[in-house]
């Protein structure tokens, strides 16, 4: 891709500067339920107050080992996400409240913590939640906007509903913007480990070091082993007869369709689920392939924005970070015009070049970073899903 940072100059973003120096492109007042038992009171409080973002998922107790670690990592990552300006957290009981209040001291933003078991009725608990929301909102209103630039972004890279157009239209368009962001000093995270089966030579060739490449390939092998344990020979049956009928000749050609959204930057290394990149550049995060799960991992890793290449429609998103849906399939663009942010189907009929498509996406990303709502935000789409590996107690 010939698009470079030098051609366009620095791209200014009016965002929200956090205590840790990171730039938010949204100023969400997060209402977070940390246990499924507190979901309803959190929801009632959040819907009674304007301008809240509710996250009430399937947080559990009795999780073991890594599952417990991941759930706690996700809760902490949500509370210190750059797009969060303040939060009200519902926890279950008094010890949990004490622990959370201690932790949020280092969070660098207004956070109030409420214990469900300290309530005196559902109505009273919801009312306390509303008071807390109002107090946090008052503090947040005193925060002004500040100036940042494209190179301060970490973007989550995703593709879903993939078809013949996403591989050659939507994903390379995203790849072009990723090259621009990385060249400007920013970061990108790509995930869905299983999609990289077959792309190992490309990962090795592009890894910043032999160790980084080996680390990523090890993650790919582990996922392939999981499939083999389930009796599935992915490498042996791909490309599938349907893929071959569609024009794909080799497994690496198939996997490159997804890898195209990474652009051409070197792979810096491998991240664990919801782990933040330790330095700028393009990072690989080891995650399951289901889009809402993998986007959860990347956004919890600090991504302020998701770039999502689609062929047929896919509504995956994580509410904290705007999602820009890029689509090159003319039928999808026609039928889902109220949900697709960037139409690059002109690539299919040759009306624009890839470089021009990257320019369109760059302009849209700039607008969304400056506050324009993405379709996923308009519809309130998306969820947080934490992967689970073991039976719980």
């Amino acid at each position: 891709m010939s698009t470079t940072a030098a051609e366009h100059g620095p791209v200014a973003i009016s965002g929200y500067r956090r205590a840790d120096g990171r730039l938010g492109i949204r100023n969400h007042l997060l209402v977070l339920s940390t246990l499924a038992l507190t979901n309803r009171v959190a929801q009632l409080a959040a819907t009674a107050e304007p301008g809240c973002l509710l996250v009430a998922g399937d947080m559990q107790r009795g999780l073991r080992g890594r599952d417990a670690v991941l759930q706690e990592r996700v809760v902490h990552a949500l509370l210190r996400h750059p797009n969060v300006g303040g939060a009200v957290v519902f926890v279950h009981d008094t010890p949990a409240r004490a622990r959370m209040q201690e932790w949020v001291k280092g969070c660098g933003r207004p956070v109030q913590v409420l214990a469900f078991m300290e309530g005196r009725g559902v109505g009273e608990t919801v009312q306390r939640g509303r008071y807390a929301i109002a107090e946090v909102r008052d503090v947040m209103h005193a925060q002004g906007r500040s100036c940042g630039h494209l190179g301060e972004l970490t973007v989550a890279l995703e593709c879903g509903g993939s078809d013949a157009t996403s591989a050659v239209c939507a994903n390379p368009t995203i790849g072009g913007l990723v090259d621009l962001i990385v060249a400007s000093g920013g970061s990108a995270i790509v995930s869905e480990t299983a999609e990289f089966i077959g792309a190992e030579p490309v990962v090795n060739a592009r890894a910043v070091s032999a160790e980084a490449g080996a680390d990523i390939i090890d993650a790919i092998r582990q996922r392939e082993r999981m499939m083999q344990e389930d009796g599935e020979d992915y490498r042996g049956v791909n490309p599938t007869p349907e893929n071959i009928a569609g024009g794909l000749s080799t497994l690496i050609e198939k996997s490159m369709g997804a890898v195209a959204k990474c652009g051409a930057s070197p792979f810096m290394g491998r991240l664990d689920f919801a782990e933040s990149p330790p330095s700028p550049g393009l990072w690989f995060m080891d995650t399951p392939f289901f889009s809402p799960v993998s986007i959860t991992g990347m956004v919890c890793g600090g991504a302020q924005l998701t770039l999502f290449g689609i062929g047929v429609f896919n509504p995956s998103a994580v509410p904290l970070a705007p999602t820009i849906r890029v689509c090159g399939n003319p039928a999808t663009v026609r039928d889902w015009s109220d949900a697709i942010d960037i139409d690059v189907s002109m690539l299919v009929d040759g009306r624009i070049t890839l470089t021009e498509a990257v320019g369109l996406l760059r302009v849209k990303a700039h607008a969304v970073c400056n506050g324009e709502l993405s379709w996923a935000e308009c519809w309130g789409e998306g969820q947080i899903i934490v992967p689970r590996e073991r039976a719980s107690i």
Binding site: V168, T250, E253, M256
Partner: protein, 81 residues
């Protein structure tokens, strides 16, 4: 004489992906040759490739020519793996 819509993802690519169903046409947009009968989503050679040459798409080697391929020829499992 109609010409086929296609996309070249990377400047180093030796194949283009055809993006229409006009399988009778024998030229790509811009005038390069294109064999008749290539289906939507399939690849066409942008240059001659000797047997054993890398087939490049997305700027990476996606396979090897298993026989000599001439410019405009359909590139698929019969001559690339």
């Amino acid at each position: 004489m109609s010409e086929r819509r296609h996309i070249i993802v990377h400047e180093a690519d030796t194949v283009a992906t055809v993006l229409d169903s006009d399988t009778q046409a024998t030229r790509l947009q811009g005038g390069a040759p294109c064999a008749a009968g290539i289906l939507f989503g399939h690849k066409v050679a942008l240059r001659d490739m000797p047997c054993g040459a890398s087939v490049v798409k997305y700027g990476v080697a996606i396979g090897v020519a298993t026989q000599a391929i001439v410019q405009g020829e359909h590139v698929h499992v019969h001559n690339c793996r």
